[in-house]
Symmetry: C2
Subunit: 319 residues, 2 copies
Amino acid sequence: VTKTSLTEQLRSGNRLALARILTQVENDTPTGQLALDELFPFTGKAHLVGITGSPGTGKSSLANQLARLLRQKKDQAPIAILAVDPTSPFSGGALLGDRIRMRDLSGDPGIFIRSMASRGALGGLARTTSALVQVLDAAGFDWILIETVGAGQSEVEVARLAHTTVVVEAPGLGDDIQAIKAGILEIADILVVNKADLAGVENTERALRASLEMAHDENNGNKPVWKPILLRTEATRGIGVDAVLDAILAHRKFLESSGDWKTRERSRLQAELDSLIVQSLYRQWQNSPDAHQYQDLLQKVWAHELSPTHAASQVTGEI
Amino acid sequence: VTKTSLTEQLRSGNRLALARILTQVENDTPTGQLALDELFPFTGKAHLVGITGSPGTGKSSLANQLARLLRQKKDQAPIAILAVDPTSPFSGGALLGDRIRMRDLSGDPGIFIRSMASRGALGGLARTTSALVQVLDAAGFDWILIETVGAGQSEVEVARLAHTTVVVEAPGLGDDIQAIKAGILEIADILVVNKADLAGVENTERALRASLEMAHDENNGNKPVWKPILLRTEATRGIGVDAVLDAILAHRKFLESSGDWKTRERSRLQAELDSLIVQSLYRQWQNSPDAHQYQDLLQKVWAHELSPTHAASQVTGEI
């Protein structure tokens, strides 16, 4: 099986070929890189939906229910769920928990589920996620749900890949949870209070509404603005999930009519290009004569004789 | 007031000069950069203690209590607390909550407290934190407590700055909290179950102990290895905080006797140098003739005619 035919197999719907290419891409192998290049012309079609939130909010359940409902409402369109678990650097993969929780969906061949874990390279999580999403996109999935844990900076970056970002909260998750909300709210297109049967749901909703008003206070003037939608669900029982799907579809209409769909895709591609440019420059520098001074200058930095800034300028020949 | 004299004022203990330089450094101004270069020879002395954990674990209280106790036990040594709040990109600073919670310490002039928020630049959080820590270090603080929220990848990077990392947990923070623990445990030198008066503390401790064994399973052979210490506290009442401080001091002894103190400092400086090299290379490329093709190639990427990888190689002249 040559590499070319593997991507052809993926394009014709072969799930084994898809799984193999995803593994190559996740491990950043030359085969994976080649596949990404070959598949690139076929990307840019899927609707990417980010589903993010703190631990314990039940976002996996919500993702599962959304996938199921999308299948029904969208003429059995093929759907992929990518569960991103950056918190497991040593397991070599996402934790068993997620896989088990998702198993109830795997009977449906139109829903493809993949877990991934980052091994902690700087900027690696968003980059790997983006690459895997491109493969799924080229494989013809109309909808890709990207599920992320937590609200750290790298999760925010992952969420920025998505066309639509659903932030999931739940009542009663600790007293400084407000701090978490503040950052994540900026990226929320749809805000879901899950586990709405729990005590304190009104308080959570009130706090979120207040924070939302704060986060989206500044208006850009003429440009049409999406006002985040706040909804309640009980995902495990399927309650309220229809409304979340309707909000996602409404957001898609907004993105298309406002031109944001195209803008987001373009920013994403530009960011990817910029990151690859930096990597290419570094590779070239490593093979240049300049790089030979590196060890000497590093020693001076270690001795606190030369500041890192000055050392960097010298070793790259900038001054 | 010239720039030079501002850093001299900082070095002689002027808190206003310190606050001003921190602001310049946080905003990444040329003045801030100059100050960092001038202060670099005076860095490398402080013990950096990272205190990290999920929302609701009470790590702010623990940081406060530790600072108070360190002052008593270490002959009134000057102490800084840097509260890193990456979740607040739009507030332009950490949330009011943290500042209020910490106010009970601000009567002691030997404890300097600073909050910061990252505005979300890639890799920006760890870089800014590192720079602020260097300023505090040069200002003569023997102990710098770096408090971070959450357990995302960028918080892990911030924690890696520290000599000693204290990970704070609390009982009953949701069902998929295990996933969070997995990643953060790898970096824990000391593990604290705070709010030990709450129900479920035994379960939390048991789960942590099991995860710890998993995380630290692989031994490097000859090298002496630090075995993470697991402790219980009720930080708001000051219970168990002495033991945490003792563990921090024991960890410091270990770092010094094993040579890890030096190794960590050196890796940190090398990582900083590498990051500055990349920035310098990018600046130089932007002013090179190669960069002129950028817009054309970007258009082709946007049209899905050319993959980002190929575009990057072309625009940097790598192929």
